[in-house]
């Protein structure tokens, strides 16, 4: 693997794509829904919550947890696919 720069490059590129996609969601749920567009989202209700407020104090945190586990799953798969996993 380490001797094959082409394959290594492809692995790294896929890794960066995963990171980009996940960090985009990370930005969207917190800085987007919780801060920048909070007023707009507060027009909508989510049970007893205003939606924007829910994202700022609850939803974003749940999303963060889910994001990390998606990352763990994706990377474990990617590691196996490129044969760079540890076991």
């Amino acid at each position: 693997m380490a001797n094959d720069p082409g394959k290594m490059k492809a692995y790294w590129k896929k890794n960066l794509q995963t990171l980009f996609f996940l960090l985009l969601i990370w930005f969207l749920v917190s800085f987007g829904f919780g801060i920048l567009w909070v007023e707009e989202l507060n027009q909508f209700r989510f049970g007893g919550f205003k939606l924007g407020f829910w994202f700022a104090q609850q939803g974003s945190i749940y999303a963060f947890v889910v994001l990390i586990f998606i990352y763990v799953y994706r990377m474990n798969k990617l590691d196996k696919e490129f044969d760079v996993n540890e076991d």
């Binding site: 290594m8 996993n85 540890e86």
Partner: protein, 561 residues
């Protein structure tokens, strides 16, 4: 049994547990002392990270801050959790693969320079010391409030406990005590929250109770908005800070979290790269349990506090009000002499002052829970303060023994290094204790800025060290120094030199000193990239190392070389 007896019993039991664990897991080698031997399971490491991370301030004060800040309190909720996404995706796996013991280790190797390493050590020591002094003070306050001893004695007791298991056990002892401390603190936090949620909304899950309905059928948050508006306060669910400021503070807290040395070092303790990723996920689950409950406690607390005092006869206030009046956390002043309390936004006519810490500390009494729950909350607060203090002390002692001493005297034996690490830990405990007893006026203020400083110094250099192979030592050193100095100067100017100027009109781009670490971070990135472009690329051996840390295979355990 009364509250004090229960407190002594529960706190005593929890301390016995911690000390027992410390003796069972004491460190025998430098590797055990620095990274717990590198064999901690991801689940245990996640719990330990959560306890390490959640300080006395998270446990006692955060809910109260949100009670009074409403929506604006979201900066802490998002800021102190979102950083774990950055940590899991951008830092933890690569630093684990790198496979040494400390952040300065990485900076020193990646930037092939002892100067860069020393700059990193100074940043680490500075951040950790400001943070730990605040923790020791927190330990003292908790002790004095619950055990009714003077604050000084509280600090001394706390020092003895931390001394015992941090100095003896090193990272190994700390890790397993932190697992126990997490269990104690989360149980203590959740029990009152669940009962209060049941009482107010009939829903036992506080996270749902926050969005639940009160007995009269209106949603809790809508009711709160209305009540606060009537008293002249801003609505609970809308913000008062500028959008730009909220954005930047949240960013600084997130990035700062990912750059804190005592958090990063936890990911050196797991066996594999895979485990580092997973354990960041577990850590965030354990943290999120508390962080999604805190806003519920905040809203329940402020609603209950207003409901049971506003426009009520002073002679017939509930017992918890008079209980906490003794500790000066609640003050009543019947200014207009009508025998009733008016809680108002206008400070001239307001007759009730409530300390923010009440929201967590008094919640068992407000909910009329049995006395043992109060004792439990005391044990939980203590666990939160001690676990964070211990983690920080370890970073300080490692920085001294390994990053400073070993770097310049590489020939010392492992036994000697371990002794130096222990002496450094002992020295750090004493120094932290001194600051806990005699807090310099600036400590409380500076703790909040430790995040900004971590964001502006470490984060960019570590990220670019992994994701770019062109960034060189000149860029890294210039970047760290400029980020740190810029952030420090901005904070010192607005907080200490001209505090009267500390208003939104004078801030750059409307960013408060709390959020300036974000700008410092961008500056660090910029300086680093520009300087690197005009100076030679890193040598081939470093380029190879960068390629090496990007793939998981061959991590092995953290090694000393």
């Amino acid at each position: 049994m009364d509250i004090l007896t229960w407190t002594y019993i529960l706190v005593g039991l929890s301390f016995t547990l911690y000390i027992g664990i410390a003796i069972w897991s004491r460190a025998g080698s430098t590797k055990e002392f620095y990274v717990a031997g590198g064999g901690v399971s991801p689940l245990a490491n996640g719990m330990a990270t959560a306890a390490d991370w959640m300080s006395a301030a998270s446990f006692i004060s955060m809910a109260g801050i949100i009670s009074f800040a409403g929506y604006d309190g979201s900066v802490y909720l998002m800021g102190w959790t979102g950083g774990y996404v950055l940590l899991a995706l951008l830092l933890a796996p690569y630093l684990r693969k790198f496979g040494k013991f400390t952040v300065p280790d990485f900076v020193g190797d990646r930037y092939y320079s002892n100067t860069a390493k020393v700059v990193a050590v100074i940043c680490a020591l500075f951040i950790s010391f400001t943070y730990v002094a605040g923790q020791m003070r927190g330990v003292g306050i908790v002790f004095s409030r619950y055990l009714e001893v003077p604050i000084e004695w509280g600090v001394v007791i706390g020092m003895c406990i931390v001394f015992f298991y941090a100095v003896l056990g090193g990272m190994k002892g700390i890790t397993y005590t932190q697992v126990a401390q997490y269990c104690v603190l989360i149980f203590a936090y959740m029990v009152p929250a669940i009962f209060v949620s049941m009482q107010l909304t009939g829903n036992p899950v506080p996270q749902f109770g926050l969005g639940g309905e009160l007995a009269d059928g209106t949603a809790l948050l809508d009711k709160l908005d209305g009540v606060l508006a009537e008293l002249g306060f801003a609505e609970y669910t809308s913000g008062r800070k500028g959008v730009m400021d909220v954005f930047m503070i949240t960013l600084a807290l997130m990035v700062g979290t990912a750059g804190l040395p005592h958090v990063i070092v936890r990911f050196f303790t797991v066996p594999k790269v895979k485990d580092a990723r997973l354990s960041a996920g577990y850590a965030l689950v354990f943290i999120a349990i508390l962080y999604t409950t805190a806003p519920a406690i905040a809203a329940f607390g402020i609603y209950n506090a207003i409901n049971s005092t506003s426009e009520k006869e002073i002679s017939s206030l509930p017992v918890w009000v008079s209980n906490w009046q003794k500790t000066n956390l609640i003050a009543v002043d019947d200014k207009n002499g009508d025998g009733k309390i008016q809680y108002l936004a206008d400070p001239v006519t307001n007759e009730l002052t409530i300390d923010r810490d009440i929201m967590v500390l008094a919640s068992p009494e407000i909910a009329e829970l049995p006395n043992w729950v109060v004792g439990l909350v005391a044990a939980g607060a203590m666990a939160a303060a001690l676990s964070t203090a211990a983690g920080l002390l370890l970073v300080i002692s490692t920085s001294v023994s390994r990053d400073l001493f070993k770097t310049f005297r590489p020939e010392i034996s492992e036994k000697k290094e371990l002794r130096i690490a222990r002496i450094a830990a002992a020295g750090a405990v004493l120094l932290a204790g001194y600051f806990g007893v005699n807090p310099p006026g600036f400590v409380a203020q500076v703790v909040a800025f430790a995040f900004g400083l971590a964001a502006a110094s470490f984060f960019p250099v570590i990220i670019m060290g992994i994701f770019s192979s062109r960034i060189n030592k000149e860029g890294a050193i210039a970047g760290m120094i400029s980020g740190l100095i810029f952030t420090l100067a901005y904070i010192i100017y607005f907080k200490f030199i001209s505090p009267e100027m500390n208003t939104a009109d004078h801030w750059w781009f409307g960013v408060s000193p709390e959020g300036i670490g974000s700008i410092g971070m961008f500056l660090n990135f910029l300086v680093c990239i520009v300087v690197s472009r005009f100076t030679p690329a890193p040598p081939q051996s470093v380029q190879d190392m960068i390629q090496e840390i990007r793939i998981p295979r061959g991590a092995g355990q953290a090694v000393d070389h």
